[in-house]
């Protein structure tokens, strides 16, 4: 278990290193966008490399769509620059940039057939009718809709429409593909399937892709790198593994996956006192001793153990259990000399059966040093 994790940690590093060599394809510098008084994007800096699949992830209103629209030239920023493929495109209108785009609504032309929708961008470019037809046929095959060529968008399912929009966007072979919440209008089953398909297509074409999403699962499964945004600023940029395992801020930790936050005090650079539970930890940043902190760990990282069998082991009582399909989420009450607090823990069905766990039972749980994150405690009045 331990080995496996470290291995994937290493591959994650390798992957990003391989991607991030050389000159970035897209460079965003100091980009600010205001709507009246409201600052939608606050001096954003970001580099995206050729062939990368990048996800902008964040809650609604975080500025992720605004950033995408600035990159497309649809809503040009107030300040800052955007370089694409060595060219300064900061103030250019959309038609003078190089991108294909798929909107949440797909924006398929309702009165044109699927064939004509896909051919739309190929026309007026000096390409012959026959060449256009060949290209469209190829694209239709690529997205598996050859039989639907003569139908109208309204006659297709949502997933099919989505693929038409994708085919139309890549028809002109743009250097950059922008996807604005492309899957959010679909139901869960179709979404899972298309997720895989889009990723495959992107890999096949090697086109640099930016996708905006508020769905963390989508971002984790599809992206090479994730850009987590909140309140118009970038909270963290990293591989999905990085973002999940080493969230840079409590916001990222909370937004992606589930996280327990318990107030604590830092003893020294390797020990923290979590409301009376002493834990060994390995914080990335060195804070001053005695500082108030937030101790964070994921529910799945709590491991049931025998008393004092492992490091960071402490006693807890099961307050309640919620059945979530493949596992149970348990509320654990921890009572110490300083008071009591409750954390969540995920236990597999097998474990529950094997250990015969039940509500009211007292157990021992442990936390591996590497899974504990420590953040400075929020100041009074600051949002957690």
């Amino acid at each position: 278990m331990l080995d496996l994790m470290e291995k994937s940690d290493v591959t994650g590093v390798q992957q990003s290193a391989q991607n991030q060599t050389g000159v970035p394809y897209l460079t965003i510098r100091d980009l600010t966008k205001r709507f009246g008084e409201f600052v939608a994007l606050d001096s954003i800096d970001l580099e995206i490399f050729e062939g990368e699949f990048v996800c902008f992830l964040g809650p609604s209103g975080c500025g992720k769509t605004t950033l995408l629209r600035a990159i497309a030239g649809l809503d040009i920023q107030n300040e800052g620059s955007i370089d694409q493929a060595g060219r300064d495109v900061s103030v250019l209108p959309p038609a003078e940039r190089d991108f294909g785009i798929v909107f949440q609504s797909y924006a398929l032309f309702p009165n044109l057939t699927i064939h004509k929708n896909i051919a739309y961008g190929l026309e007026n470019k000096g390409t012959g009718r026959r060449d256009i037809d060949d290209k469209v046929a190829g694209l239709l095959e690529l997205v598996g809709l050859s039989a639907q060529a003569q139908k109208y968008p309204a006659q297709l399912s949502g997933g099919q429409q989505q693929r038409v929009a994708l085919a139309r966007a890549i028809a002109t072979r743009p250097g950059l593909l922008l996807l604005d919440e492309p899957l959010s209008a679909l139901d869960a089953k179709v979404r899972g399937h298309l997720r895989h398909e889009i990723k495959e297509l992107q890999r096949k074409l090697g086109v640099t892709t930016i996708m905006v999403t508020h769905d963390q699962e989508e971002a984790l499964t599809m992206a090479d790198r994730i850009v987590v945004m909140n309140h118009g600023v970038i909270e963290q940029v990293g591989t999905p593994f990085d973002i999940y395992r080493n969230p840079a801020s409590p916001f990222v930790a909370d937004f992606i996956g589930t996280m327990n936050f318990v107030p604590g005090t830092l003893q020294d650079s390797h020990r923290v006192d979590m409301q009376g539970v002493a834990l060994a930890c390995d914080p990335e940043k060195i804070y001053s001793d005695g500082q108030e902190v937030l101790v964070a760990f994921r529910p799945e990282d709590l491991v049931v153990c025998e008393r004092d069998e492992r490091e960071n082991c402490f006693a807890a009582t099961i307050l309640g259990m919620e059945f979530l399909g493949s596992f149970y989420r348990a509320d654990l009450e921890i009572v110490t000399g300083q008071g009591r607090f409750v954390v969540r823990a995920d236990f597999s069905i097998n474990l529950i059966r094997r250990e015969a766990l039940g509500v009211g039972q007292e157990i021992h749980v442990a936390l591996r040093t590497g899974v504990i994150s420590v953040y400075p405690a929020p100041q009074a009045g600051e949002q957690g």
């Binding site: 001096s43 800096d45 040009i76 800052g80 250019l92 209108p93 959309p94 309204a154 006659q155 139309r168």
Partner: protein
Amino acid sequence: MSELSLSGAPVKPLKPKVSRDDWAMRGFMVMIGLYLLVTLALPLYAMLSKSLENRDGDFVGLANYVEYFSTPALFNSIGNSITISLVTTLITVTLAFWFAYGLTRSCMPFKRTFRMLAMVPILVPSLLPGIGLIYMFGNQGYMKELLLGQSIYGPLGIVIAEVFFTFPHALLIIMTALSIADGRLYEAASALRASRSKVFRTVTLPGARYGLISAAFVVFTLVITDFGAPKVIGGQYNVLAVDIYKQVIGQQNFSMGAVVSVILLIPAIMAFAVDRRVQKKQVALLSARAVPYAPKRNRVLDVGMTLYCGAIILIILLILGTCQYAALVKFWPYNLELGLQHYNFDIVDGGGWEAYGNSIRMALWTAFVGTAVIFVGAYMVEKGRGFDEGRGLFQFFAMMPMAVPGMVLGLAYIFFFNNPDNPFNFLYGTMAILVICTITHFYTVAHLTAMTALKQMDKEFEAVSQSLKQPFYKTFFRVTVPVCSPAILEIAVYLFVNAMTTVSAVVFIYGTSTQLASVSVLNMDDAGDIAPAAAMGMMIFYTNAVARLVHLGASWLLEKRTQAWRVK
């Protein structure tokens, strides 16, 4: 974060580059905006300054206004106009509300027929109901006894004619308001065992209140600015719109005509401003996710509503039928033999059959040119990028015509275009100026129809098209126009019908070679040739009825051809 922001250099705000498409779209918008400036704002300004001049064109300040308010024969019209408008508003809105209630909340039969026939008054000039009333209740009217000695010439006649004329306008608005009712509210009310009258007071009326207010303002504005009905049947009862006509055509007192126009503008603009605010609230009401209300059978209500709506339709048809009958009768009321001699328009004053031909030409030009101009203008203002101040100004210009009464617009045209120093003077007396005036006069409603249709289109079509490096006009012709074709047809037929029936604006600016059918109804009636006036009025009605039928057929064909992609 970055070194750049730390350097402390002041950051220059970026200036987006304006693409060739942007320039082109703004160019079109500015052109149409200038069109509105020249055909609306400048003439109104000319009129305003004329009201401050004497007959010789010297500036006299407010002297004309002082004269106006010291002449009871003139300022009494203000009270008259307001009285007539208020009374008509009350009657029309009440009648139209119950008619709309029958159409939307009962299970009465013939709903479609009733609805269609209730729209008939829109197809005739407002002069026509007055003529019908003269034959019914005038000195030789066949139902004169019903009035018990009262005279139809005066406020009574005006109000009846105006109710006829404004009924469909009120009905359309109130019906829209009633048909967006939320069925769940009614289910909740009946689950709480509320009585029928309580449901009506607590659910139906509040739901329709914006519609009722809006309808009231529309009717009020229509009546206070209407010229046709009081002209024909008003007798000695003076109202503002007719005063303008009398001052200008009768006494050649243009300055006083301008003064009356300015006074008439005030209530019209006020009513318009209030209505716009109410309309916005109505839209907010619409956006709620509601379950449509489905009326249940109720014998008493259904029979009662059938009788009520039937009676109203009968009255509408009776007034119209009387006009047609009178137009065919040889010599009312002495020789009731039927014949077509009154259709020999060429032997009476008013322009004859040529005027009818002119009207059709004018209406067709208005429909074609007007639809193109208005739709293109709406597209540029709705789908253009940047240039927000320009777009806002354009939107303001496009809304203005609604607040300007036809008489005022027509008079303003005299002052502006008949000025020899005006470079557009060559237009005066031509067919072109009639078309221009009519397009401007009816601009707002057509513009709003176009905007509604455009707003319903995915706002990302243009963005997608730009990303595919296609010019805007390709999207416009290949996507926007086909998708909006029902609205475009609707605008065209609206302009056609109104161009056929309008009198108020064009009465001041037609020339000897550009007489119009609607104006000839007025002139024949003025000359005492009432039967030919009725005959011509009915010709306008039949022409508009055919136009509506053609529209219906075209819509049906369109729907059939496009149903493959319109399915939702």
